[in-house]
Symmetry: C2
C-alpha cells in the first residue's frame, strides 16, 4: 500500500518515518520543514532505535503527490481547515484516511473532506516531540490503538483494510492494536490528555512535577475520574482499573512536556477544542437528552474539565503572553 503523511510532526514524522525506514512507500507533505528535510533528511531519535531517512519522498504541494491508499492525518487539529482542500487531491480511489489526532470525532473533518471514503481513527499513547525541523524525538511508549470511525459504516471493509495497515505497521516495528470500539479508545486517551495536557499549560509544569505535588496530583486524579464518568454517561465503557493505570503510567513515564504545553510555550494555537470542547459537548448533549427524558436536573459530570477549558481558552487567546513565558 502507498502511504501519505499529512502533518509530519511528533506523531506523523515518527510513524511515517518508521514505515518508510522499513521499506514502505511513504510520501510526506511538508510545509515549513521542506527545505530542511530536502537538505538533511528526516531524523528520528527513538527509544526503539535512532535512524535518518536521507531522501524521503517529500512534497510542498498536495497536487504534486501521488494518489495514496492510506492517508495518515497527523496534523494538529487546529489546522484541520486544510483537509478539505488537501485530501481529495491525494487519496486513491479506494483509499482510506487514518486520523491520528486527539479529541472526539476529529475524524468528522476527514469524512467531510473525502465523503464516501473509509475513515479510521487512531489514538497514540506515546511521548514524542518534534524538537527541530525534520527532527523527531520519541521518548517513551508508542502504542497506536485504532479502529473504524463508527459513523462511516462499512465495518467489514474498513476492518479488513485496518488489519492490513496493522500488519504493515507491526512489520515496521510499530506497536499497533486494532479496536472495534474506537470511541472507547478516544475516551481512554482523553483520560490522559485532559488532565495532563491541560494542567501542564495552566500550571506551567511537566508531568513529573504535576504528579509529584500532592495538590496537583489530587486534582489530576479528580479530572481523570471526571473523564471516566463522562465516558460512562455517554455510554462508552472503559475497562476497570483504567484510572489507576493512567496515573501509574504517568508516574513511571519520563518527565514529559505535553504537545499542548509545547504549543503554548511556542505561541502556537492549542488543541483546546479537540481535547476539551469535544468531550464537554458530548456529555452536555447527553445531559440535555437525559434531562428531557426524565425532567430531573443533573449535575455537570465534568466541572473541573469545564474549568480547565475556560482557563485554556483564556490562555489560548493570549499568544503574546504565551511566547513571553518561553523566554
Amino acid at each position: 500500500m502507498r502511504y501519505a503523511v499529512v502533518g509530519s510532526g511528533a506523531v506523523g514524522g515518527l510513524y511515517g518515518g518508521m514505515l518508510a525506514h522499513h521499506g514502505q512507500d511513504v510520501h510526506f507533505l511538508l510545509r515549513s520543514d521542506f527545505d530542511h528535510v530536502a537538505a538533511n533528511g528526516l531524523r528520528i531519535d527513538s527509544i526503539k532505535g535512532d535512524f535518518v531517512l536521507p531522501k524521503p519522498n517529500i512534497y510542498q504541494r498536495a497536487e504534486d503527490m501521488p494518489r495514496c491508499d492510506v492517508i495518515i492525518v497527523a496534523l494538529k487539529s487546529t489546522n484541520n481547515a486544510m483537509l478539505a482542500e488537501t485530501l481529495p487531491k491525494i487519496i486513491a480511489e479506494d483509499g482510506v484516511v487514518l486520523t491520528l489526532q486527539n479529541g472526539l470525532d476529529v475524524e468528522a473533518d476527514s469524512v467531510s473532506a473525502v465523503p464516501g471514503h473509509g475513515v479510521l481513527g487512531g489514538c497514540c499513547f506515546l511521548c514524542s516531540n518534534k524538537v527541530g525541523p525534520g527532527h523527531i524525538h520519541h521518548l517513551d511508549y508508542g502504542r497506536i490503538v485504532f479502529g473504524g470511525y463508527e459513523f462511516v459504516g462499512r465495518h467489514d471493509q474498513i476492518r479488513e483494510i485496518g488489519q492490513r495497515i496493522a500488519s504493515e505497521m507491526t512489520d515496521a516495528g510499530i506497536d499497533v492494536q486494532w479496536t472495534d470500539d474506537l470511541a472507547a479508545a478516544r475516551w481512554r486517551k482523553l483520560m490522559w490528555n485532559v488532565p495532563f495536557n491541560g494542567l501542564s499549560v495552566v500550571l506551567d509544569a511537566s508531568t513529573d512535577a504535576i504528579i509529584g505535588c500532592p495538590a496537583s496530583r489530587t486534582l489530576a486524579d479528580r479530572i481523570i475520574n471526571e473523564v471516566y464518568a463522562g465516558a460512562a454517561l455517554c455510554g462508552v465503557s472503559i475497562e476497570e482499573g483504567a484510572i489507576e493505570k493512567t496515573m501509574r503510567h504517568t508516574e513511571t513515564m519520563v518527565p514529559y512536556d505535553s504537545s499542548m504545553r509545547l504549543d503554548f510555550l511556542n505561541g502556537r494555537p492549542m488543541e483546546v477544542d479537540a481535547i476539551f470542547g469535544s468531550p464537554l459537548r458530548a456529555v452536555e448533549r447527553r445531559i440535555a437528552e437525559l434531562t428531557a427524558e426524565s425532567s430531573e436536573k443533573r449535575a455537570h459530570p465534568m466541572p473541573s474539565v469545564k474549568m480547565l477549558r475556560e482557563q485554556l481558552q483564556f490562555l489560548d487567546s493570549r499568544p503574546a503572553m504565551a511566547s513571553n513565558l518561553s523566554g
Copy 2:
C-alpha cells in the same frame, strides 16, 4: 489613641501613613524597609493625594516600641507566626488589635497572641501596591469595613472602641465603615479575592484581562457565585446584588495586579490558606454537619474554588518557577 502598624505594606503603610499624616500618633514596625524609610521617609502616592512622611516613628524591634492602644495588623497572613512574639510587647493594657488581613478567622492568630484583649477585624476594598521600599501606590477604591471579631465577645466595649477608631480614621480621610457582621464582610471580600487573586496567578493576568475574555469572565462569575453560595451555606447572608456589584466594580477598576499575583511574580509565599483554605474548611465543616444531621449526601458547593486552591498550592510550592515568570 496611640497606633502601632505591624506590616507596613500596601495596606498598613497606606492607612497608617494617612493616620500619621493627619497628626495621629502612629508607630511603624519595619523590617527590610527600615534603613530606606529612615533615610527617605514613607512615601504614599494615592488617588486621594500624594504625600511623604519625612520622619515617621519607625522601629526595627517590637521591644523598642511604646505600648499602643490600637495595633493594626496588616501583615501578609503567611507571616502570622511572628504575632505571638510581637503583639504582647506592644499592646497597651486596654489595647485592641485590628487585623486588616484577608481570609476568614485570620483574627484567631491575634486572639491567641494577646488573649483577653479585644480583637477587631477589617476588610479593605482597595487597589494598592507596595512599589518599592517605603513606597506605596494607592490606585483605586479604599474602603475599610470593620467590626468586632465575633468569637471574642464583649460586643459593647469593642463596638465603642471601634467607633472611636472609625471616627479618627474618617478624620484622616479614610473611607471606613463599621459593621456588626464581620463574617459577612469577610465573605463579601472573599467574593473578590477568591476569583481575582486566584485567577490572576493561575492565568498570569491582571483583572482587566480576566474580565475582558468571555471564557475567564464566565469562570470568574461562576467562582463568585460559589463563594456566595458558600457563605449562605455557612449561615452568612450577603446582600442581594453583591455578585453583580463585584463584577461591575472589577470592570470599572483600574487594570490591577492583585497582591497574590505580585507575591507570586516575586517568588514570595501566597496567602493560599487564608483566602482559599479558610472558606473551604468552613463550608466543608458545614457540609459534614448537615450530612451528619440528615445523612443526605451533598455536593461540594465550591468545586471551582477547591480546584483553584489545588492549582495555587502547586504554584506556591514552586518559588523558583515563579520568579522565572517575572522575567
